[in-house]
Amino acid sequence: MELRALVPEGPIERKWERRRFEVKLVNPANKRRYHVIVVGSGLAGASAAATLAELGYRVSCFCYQDSPRRAHSIAAQGGINAAKNYQNDGDSVWRLFYDTVKGGDFRAREANVYRLAEVSANIIDQCVAQGVPFAREYGGTLANRSFGGAQVSRTFYARGQTGQQLLLGAYQALERQVALGRVAMYPRAEMLDLVVVDGKARGIVVRDLVTGAVSSHAGDAVVLATGGYANVYYLSTNAKGCNVTATWRAYKRGAAFANPCFTQIHPTCVPPAGEYQSKLTLMSESLRNDGRIWLPRRQGDHRPPQDIPDAERDYYLERFYPSFGNLAPRDIASRRAKEMCDQGLGVGPGGQGVYLDFRDAILRLGRDVVAERYGNLFEMYERITGENPYDTPMRIYPAPHYTMGGLWVDYNLMSTLDGLFVIGEANFADHGANRLGASALMQGLADGYFILPYTIGNYLAQTKPAEVPAEHTAFRSVQAEVAARSTTLLGVTGTRSVDSLHRELGTLLWDRCGMARTGAGLRAAIDGVRALRERFWKDVYVGGRGEDLNQALEKAGRVADFMEFAELMCEDALHREESCGGHFREEYQTAEGEARRDDARFAYVAAWEYTGASERPRLHKEPLAFEHVPLAQRSYK
């Protein structure tokens, strides 16, 4: 396996323009002869499927939800960044690029990030034209706000439902293409494997989640837009169905998996309430714009928060980071919260929580302004906890939220497998070791609307259409493997539910491969994951039949893949003997407790190659050069 990033020559400002000129074009009359398979219908998948169909390709789009509109992008609250500089506060493509590389702690590819910043402005234009009801100023122009880690106001938003509105825009564009007969939509269909023939991705094998029927779909290229793997921790802010299966299956068929240990723990989530907790709910990071984070100075101070005077409160983020204060980047805010709680200062059930207080914002701005900005978030919090944030501070705690790691892709968003493209959160590309707030929506839509539609043409132009049909023996054998796997899962006559084993895996990873990691802990985690995986295949009980709607079987397949994936994630975390972004190794920190990167040894993308079930994965390194953003230790003091 060879990692060729295929970054265009020339100055960084001209690279994308140059690539768009270099790519081979498919004759407009020939486009309909090419069939592209898109897996996933979130921001990346829906925007890609719609755009490819607009260009004239035949597209099939698959999602496990009952409607493409429900993909988990819908839950993104805060906003989407774009370098429009509407606020005249000094923003530019260059500044967005700079912030993203630096925020990612210098573990992203510069050329990709520059391109992301470059197309960010087009995204806003496109979404507005679709009728996305972004927030406006009284003069009718678009409103912006500043968002976690940024010192300019470049975030566009639609109340606290930006992801929903952007996804509905993409979904409506997609449904328009469905109506025109250019996209075949397959809801309640889950990709269970990738079919590779002679080193090229040729299609997928899918299970119909209603009938249980397993079928093959052949295409000239396959696009994975299947999101991240934060559910490996069981408790995360992801939707219950989010999973690693599509990318993990692709990895086992030859696509390199990059930086799996780069996971993002979001600082502002509602803390878990009990054993039965099924997911964690994120409270938008925008709350940190006006909320102040604090803990009682004294351990065991059980007074109601309103009764604790300011002198006895520790606004620890403002203390540690005077210039960024409560807006310190996500990884830092999360780690500090955990440290404080580990010292026994935490509040709420199990001492897992810190206060996020709006008292001062309400005094300064008035209740109405606070309600206008955060009303729906306050309501959501009140529904979950039964407490009213206007009167009593919220309790928040970090939770796994986003995964920067993903399948390795080149500048054209193609994986190490020819014909397999990976977009959105599913790839590794743009966020390095830490993603900035409001950048996930930007990346998903950049990939889907404005990057993949160009680069995939270059691949298709060099491919004959419909070379490998779904009747090919390769499809038959993969389909048989998929069916056999379901049969095996259904045949295990254990006593444990899938969820209970998944919860165990989650706890293990949260403790050992979560916010803070150590070499010894990771070695123990690898042993633990192996032992748990063995138990899974002996102790699990799935029940029901394969030829039916069987939600336990769906979960079992996903958890079986998480059990394998978890080991690679720990391996990656163990090998990376430095701290960067979301990856914090306790052995590698500065005297002040900040992450200490080791650029001499680790300024590279770690791309792992599958070498067999009982073999160690092989590490490939893509060196990263920082020619435009000088390497520096992040400082938010």
Partner: protein, 252 residues
């Protein structure tokens, strides 16, 4: 707390269903309604019985996947709350709960509490979009949008497509869902070129899917977890009349 659940069980759309009774013992008031079903399912799995099938995904009230009728009310008793955001503190120890799927001809039962809501996607296909290809958009601030219009459009656009409005309506009408989309786009300058065609096409599609008509019961707006206002139905009716005239005059 303890609860008695009567849950609709139906293996598939061809087989008749019935209520089964389950006792939920010592559950926490801080638990969500779906977590209650998770706990009941864990018990069923331990007894080698088939767990209750129900749609759910984000569990934070935005994806619109979950939906069930709880004691006769879609998404249960709490105002503006999806089933996943409903917590047991809304109930009283010893309560008896009847849990059913959405009931509507256009939403056939798939299994237990799961129904097929693809008809909603087809309503969007009928015209719930702005026809603009990627790349063809003008600079975003070229067309100013008055803040009140943008806010009102957002009020309508908040619809999560869960189908509670249909389940609540005695006519199983999808008027609130269609009205929300029609109004969202009609309130914005970007939605004007297709405004007349969109509304007629979407209303026609709604009839063709087997949804009923609106007779102003307003059950939809009361059940809506996003509190989409019934005023949007008035706007839909007005736009529809305008759209029909437009078609009669050869405009569509």
């Amino acid at each position: 707390m303890n609860l008695t659940l009567h849950v609709w069980r139906q293996p598939d759309g061809r087989t008749a269903g019935r209520f089964e009774t389950y006792e939920a013992r010592d559950v926490s008031p801080a638990m969500s309604f779906l977590e209650l079903l998770d706990v009941v399912n864990e018990g069923l799995i331990a007894r080698r019985e088939e767990p209750i099938a129900f749609d759910h995904d984000c569990r934070e009230g935005i994806c619109g996947a979950c939906g069930m009728v709880i004691n006769g009310r879609p998404h249960g008793p709490r105002r503006a709350t999806t089933a996943c955001q409903l917590h047991l503190r809304q109930f009283t120890d010893g309560d008896e709960l009847w849990i059913e799927p959405w009931r509507a001809r256009a939403f056939p039962v798939v299994k237990d509490l799961i129904v097929n809501r693809s008809a909603f996607d087809r309503l969007i296909q009928a015209g719930g979009f702005v026809s603009v290809n990627t790349g063809g958009a003008p600079e975003a601030n070229t067309i100013p949008v008055p803040k009140p219009a943008a806010e009102r459009a957002m009020d309508a656009a908040e619809c999560i497509g869960c189908g509670a409005c249909v389940a609540a309506c005695p006519n199983a009408s999808a008027m609130l869902y269609v009205a929300a989309k029609v109004a969202h786009l009609a309130l914005l300058p970007q939605g004007q070129p297709e405004r007349a065609r969109r509304v007629v096409s979407m209303v026609d599609a709604m009839d063709a899917e087997g949804f009923g008509a609106c007779t102003n019961h307003a059950e939809c707006t009361a059940a809506c977890p996003k509190e989409i206002a019934i005023d949007f139905i008035a706007q839909l009716n007005r736009d529809y009349a305008h759209g029909l005239l437009h078609r009669l005059s050869g405009g569509v």
